[in-house]
């Protein structure tokens, strides 16, 4: 199966954010800011998503959910932490139920600061994520090709030795 390189799909999950970054992410996808012009589409299905936008910190109850969503996404994948809560825990860092930022649970690639993160910052993060996603897709493809040629070479070698005997 080929690797998707263009038009990555985006999954948005609200960790334990206050809604502020949440609605700014939605505002990014609707007319005025329209992040869809960069070739992304918002999807609700983690199994079809390539970029994971997470808002809000991680708490004891949603940790498993975030981990599961990340694991369900096919590789290559990029994670963007939107807002200061997703980056570090933010104003809620000292709360008893907050474990910390998104990077306590899943590997985060791009951090978007702000409380609430402004649409311009979120769009910047998305553009960086699209570029990173393409880079990773290329890398993975090159790896797969390398493996294929390696396998082919091994097969050839196997055949040759087989013939030789």
């Amino acid at each position: 199966m080929g690797i998707v390189k263009r038009s990555p799909w985006l999954l948005h999950y609200d960790g334990s954010s206050c809604n502020g970054c949440d609605i700014e992410v939605l505002a990014c996808l609707t007319p005025v800011y329209d992040a869809e012009r960069f070739g992304i589409i918002n999807t609700g299905d983690p199994m079809q998503a390539d970029i994971f936008l997470i808002t809000g910190g991680i708490n004891t109850q949603n940790q498993a959910v975030v981990k599961q969503l990340y694991d369900q996404m096919p590789s290559p994948k990029v994670v963007v932490a939107v807002g200061v809560c997703a980056c570090t825990g933010g104003v809620f860092k000292e709360c008893y139920n907050i474990i910390g930022g998104a990077d306590t649970t899943i590997p985060v690639d791009i951090y978007v600061p702000g409380c609430a993160a402004r649409p311009q910052a979120i769009i910047d993060g998305i553009i960086k994520a699209v570029a990173l996603f393409q880079e990773r897709a290329d890398e993975q493809e090159a790896n797969q090709k390398g493996q294929k040629t390696e396998n082919a070479a091994l097969n050839e070698a196997g055949k040759e030795t087989g013939n030789g005997n």
Partner: protein, 359 residues
């Protein structure tokens, strides 16, 4: 009896911007029972009163929710002002009222968009959100922030609006009024929309009363209850009538919220015409000592702020009761007997704000 099956709904679901989990017990396509489980957004921000003093707490309370952020801050500040017997300047009262009503417009437009999205009318969703951006531009002009703008403080407000800003505000709200009149036709007089909303999720007046529903959700069932009539901030000087509807179905909830946007625009006009000059904040000295319940009408309904102080700079206890929390029992009642396909729509009609509920 038909075979029962359980369908898990959430916490991650395409129609939900926020995580809530429901176990839906189905008999064929009908919902028999819905079992909620919450806690995915629980942070425990009330406990921060032990670590942040009562002035810093304003910024934490504003981050209870990003949609009605301003009103959370306002409710908390008014509760502390009542404890400390601080009389805030009239201009601050009017400015608070104007920002609060603008928040209501932006919240209801957001809700109308999400409702349109829930019944699958995507262009209508985009139109509502396009209008909402204009309100956010006014917030940015007057305060510098878009959703969380922290202009409240104990004793008044931090920023002023000059005459030019007030004029821009009048122009923008007039523009929204015109556009809303057009969009109202689609929401209220369109055959397709009507067939998705009328008679769906009926909650009678008795049920709403017994289950303690709040806000537009209760008003759509005919309960005349609006905390703005208690006259906090500058509401006692403004004329308003409580908007209600009798049907109690999803259509009535949509109608009530659309009419409330018109009402909010009217309230902003009244407030701008009456706004007095003067100081922005009163001097606050010392620490609070005592306790107070403050009731505020948020876009989603009545919110209660309870603060208890003991004379030190840290409050002893702070508690917020939010409207979505009050509306969840009624939601579970309306879900009984509903079609499985209507479940996302019904969840949206209470205008859920999970981050308020779980704090």
């Amino acid at each position: 009896m038909a075979k029962q099956s359980i369908v898990p709904f959430g916490p991650q679901h395409p129609v939900l911007p926020e995580p809530i989990h429901l176990d839906l017990v189905l008999e064929d396509e009908k919902v028999v029972k819905a079992i909620p489980s919450i806690g995915f957004v629980h942070r425990g921000l009330e406990s921060l009163v032990e670590k942040k003093d009562f002035n810093e707490m304003t910024y934490v309370v504003e981050r209870t929710c990003g949609i009605c952020s301003f009103m959370h801050g306002m409710g908390y500040c008014e509760s502390i002002e009542h404890i400390m017997n601080v009389e805030i300047p009239d201009r601050a009262k009017y400015l608070r009222t104007i920002w609060a009503e603008l928040s209501r417009i932006h919240s209801h437009l957001l809700w109308l968009g999400l409702l349109a999205d829930a019944f699958g009318f995507e262009s209508l969703f985009y139109q509502c959100w396009r209008m909402r951006e204009k309100v956010l531009d006014v917030f940015e002009l007057t305060t510098g922030g878009r959703c969380i703008f922290s202009v409240n403080k104990v004793g008044g407000v931090l920023k002023d609006m000059d005459a030019e800003m007030l004029k821009v505000m009048l122009d923008v709200t007039a523009g929204i009024e015109e556009e809303l009149k057009v969009i109202k036709k689609t929401f209220l007089f369109d055959y397709t929309v009507e067939s998705r909303l009328k008679g769906v999720g009926v909650l009678t007046k008795e049920q709403a009363h017994n289950l303690g529903a709040a806000g537009p959700f209760a008003r759509a069932s005919g309960i005349k209850m609006d905390m703005r009539t208690t006259g906090y901030a500058a509401y006692k000087d403004l004329d308003m009538e409580i908007i209600t509807s009798e049907a109690g179905d999803s259509f009535a909830r949509c109608e009530v919220r659309i009419n409330e946007i018109f009402q909010a625009i009217d309230l902003i006009r009244q407030a701008i015409s009456k706004i007095p000059g003067g100081e922005l904040s009163a001097v606050v000295k010392g620490n609070p000592n005592g306790e107070y319940f403050m009731r505020v009408e948020q876009p989603r309904g009545e919110a209660i702020y309870y603060s208890k102080a003991n004379g030190s700079k840290f409050l002893e206890r702070m508690r917020i009761r939010t409207p979505t929390f009050a509306n969840i029992p009624s939601l579970l009642e309306t879900l009984k007997g509903a079609d499985f396909a209507d479940v996302p729509l019904l969840i949206v009609t209470i205008d859920p704000c999970i981050s308020c509920t779980e704090r």
